[in-house]
């Protein structure tokens, strides 16, 4: 603008004043181009036909008087700067002019080249700022509208996605369930024919039926995998953890695995001692892990194939290691690294891991972690691979420790744990105590733990503080509901009291210490003293 000169329009009906201004403008150092109109009408016509940077206007024009002139100019051109030229020192009019669209005012008699230059410069600058502000404001408003529009769009999209996701999830569940029925029928009838219950069959027929059975088992495992993935993704995969014997778990999956080995002519050996201590886990899930690992081993074992399922106790770590060793080609270091990468991927993207090593291993790892264990793989090229996993022994303290580790991991350490005691009367019968045990187990939700401390006392571990009251209320409700449905005598009545709530990040050791004392004493002589201690301990440790 400076380079091509500032274009100034003067609207002034007095030629003398015009001359005065013209002289002053002429003396301004930077180039200014002055145009003159002697009436408002003439000025507006000029303004309409060419661009000006600033309009200097008198307020006493022949065809207009007072601030109307400013309004008219502003109405005609919204971007040009306006400076009002007055003769009298009328501060009221001067300030009023600013309100109707002028940027500045100047008393004519004071219009020296310096003041004129400065006033013009400032007026233009001010007007530019104003235009910029208005532009920005319009932009902000437009953006705000756009944002709220997008927000609404996102919300409705979100609702739709949630609905679709729910539908998809339900669909997977239903499909899986629907698969199960025909699969069951196929398995049952193949068994009936295979076992010769509907007439004798020859060896080849028996072998073929075995293959059908094994393939049906494979399909069933796939359905299980699919269900687990669906539940993993929606965060609904829960566990039914309790004291288990590994041999019992293996017993239930053994027939299918042995049949598979037989059909594939693989030497399958199970080396699991009856003497192993009890484990704390969801037996079905651990069974699924073993099925997946053995199935995997049978897929990659050598020729002739050898697969060995073994277990050893690791007393130092309070755990049992269960392993599956094959005599396959082994996995090189790159493969191993990839294997673990795939494991890692599972947390973020399950779909991408469905290829290659398959869903089985990924799910196996998740299921192991759900049971507070860890998955390992060791492999030597040309010698074979060993996939192994750990499960904690059925020792409450160890289980709690691992439970808290997992909770802390899953929630970035911001989690809270509440302990709640449940106690039935000492006079309750053994059957009553067992019924209460069943009932307390029934109250558990995902991520809750329950420990039985002696015959009449239980300890709930809940991963929350805010919902403890809800938990107590629910327990009360379910108790009444269950009792209504029990004609053969009510459940023994119980009392629940909150031992306390602690932050895992700061009070992990306190919880363990409390738990050690509480469960330790529970087996000892005085349950009451243990409880009294629990209260004082809880009070001394307000949650913060």
């Amino acid at each position: 603008m400076e380079t091509k000169g500032t274009r100034v329009l003067l609207i002034e009906d007095d030629p003398e004043d015009y001359q005065l201004i013209r002289r002053s403008v002429g003396k301004i150092q930077s180039p200014h181009e002055l145009h003159w109109a002697d009436s408002l009408t003439g000025g507006l016509a000029k303004l309409a036909s060419s661009d000006f940077d600033v309009v200097l206007t008198d307020l006493n024009l022949a065809d207009c008087h007072g601030l109307e002139a400013v309004r008219a100019i502003r109405a005609c051109n919204s971007s040009v700067a306006i400076v009002v030229m007055t003769t009298l020192d009328d501060s009221e009019t001067e300030f009023e002019s600013l309100n109707v669209g002028a940027q500045d005012f100047l008393v004519k008699s004071e219009a020296t080249s310096t003041t004129l230059a400065r006033t013009i410069h400032h007026a233009i600058h001010r007007q530019q700022n104003l235009i910029e502000i208005e532009r920005l404001l319009a932009e902000v408003n437009a953006n705000r509208e756009l944002l709220s529009e997008q927000k609404m769009l996102l919300e409705s999209k979100n609702r739709r996605l949630r609905k679709i996701y729910k539908t998809a999830h339900r669909f997977v569940d239903n499909v899986s369930h629907e698969f199960r029925t025909p699969l069951t029928v196929i398995k049952d009838y193949v068994s009936l024919v295979r076992e010769g219950m509907v007439g004798a069959i020859n060896e080849e027929q028996a072998h073929m039926l075995d293959i059908v059975g094994v393939r049906a088992d494979d399909l069933n495992n796939m359905v299980d995998d699919m269900l687990d993935v669906s539940k993993l993704e929606s965060g609904l995969l829960g566990a039914w953890r309790r004291d288990c014997r590994l041999t019992d778990i293996i017993q239930s999956i053994r027939p299918a695995l042995e049949k598979k080995a037989e059909v594939k002519a693989i030497c399958f050996e199970i080396a699991v001692a009856e003497s192993l201590p009890k484990l704390y886990c969801d037996g079905e899930k651990v069974g699924r892990v073993i099925i997946n690992l053995v199935t995997n081993a049978m897929k990659f074992c050598g020729e002739p194939g050898r697969v060995r399922l073994w277990a050893t106790e690791n007393a130092d770590q309070h755990e049992v290691v269960v392993g599956v060793t094959d005599n396959g080609a082994g996995i090189d270091e790159d493969g191993l690294a990839q294997l673990f990468q795939r494991f890692k991927q599972l947390e973020t993207n399950i779909k991408s891991s469905t290829k290659g090593f398959g869903l089985g291993l990924n799910i196996a790892k998740e299921l192991v972690e759900l049971n507070f264990g860890q998955m390992h793989v060791a492999s030597r090229l040309k010698e074979g691979s060993t996939f192994s996993f750990t499960i904690p022994l059925a020792e409450p303290l160890e289980v709690l420790r691992r439970y808290m580790d997992r909770l802390q991991c899953a929630r970035n350490g911001s989690s809270v744990v509440s302990l709640v005691w449940a106690k039935i009367q000492d006079s309750a019968s053994d059957t009553g105590a067992e019924d209460a045990d069943t009932f307390f187990n029934f109250l558990l939700r995902r991520n809750d733990l329950l420990f039985r401390c002696g015959q009449h006392k239980w300890l709930f571990v809940l991963p929350t503080r805010t919902e403890v009251d809800q938990f107590l209320a629910r327990a009360e409700q379910e108790f009444e509901k269950t009792n209504r449905n029990r004609p053969y005598g009510p459940l023994p009545s119980f009392a629940m009291n909150i031992a306390g709530s602690w932050r895992l990040s700061t009070h992990r050791d306190v919880i363990l210490e409390y738990f050690r004392n509480a469960t330790g004493t529970a087996r000892g002589p005085s349950v009451e003293s243990c409880e009294a201690r629990s209260c004082s301990l809880a009070e001394s440790l307000p949650l913060n």
Binding site: H177, R180, T181, L183, T184, V185, I186, K187, D188, Y189, S191, L192, E195, M197, V198, A216, N220, D224, L227, L237, G238, A239, W240, S252, P255, A256, D282, E284, K285, T438, F439, N441, F442, L444, R445, R446, T482, N485, R486, P487, Y488
Partner: protein, 158 residues
Amino acid sequence: MNSLTETTLMRQRISTIASCHTPCGTITENPLILCVDDDPDITRAMAKTLSNFEVRTICDVYGQQGICDALSAQPDLIITDLRMPQGGGESLLAEVKQNPKTRHIPVIVLTGQRDALLRNRLQNLGADGFLNKPVHYTALLAEISRFVTLEEKVWESA
């Protein structure tokens, strides 16, 4: 249509009892097992598997029917599916365990559902056993023999 189905089913049931009862013994001697599943192929396979043993079976296709038969036939064991039209397994379990006349009858739930907390719920309702479909027949027989004596029919193969 309902009454027709009912009659057909009744006839089927009677025939099952008749075919499963051994000619040398009386009906009341052998344990009676009530199998409830909306898929008759499944109950038929179960009955066929059990036909090798000295037991009698009744096969029902929905929960309500199972409740009636539990009352009238007083079986020694009930094996039931969960998801069924006209009275699912859970309501059958609840009914059987609520009625003083039937609550002593052990109930095994055989389901394709895989819900970790389902067992707790069923146990709280009074279920005595829990099996996942598909179940290997040896596992099924092992579970059944926890509640009734399974004596193999020796004479039939001779």
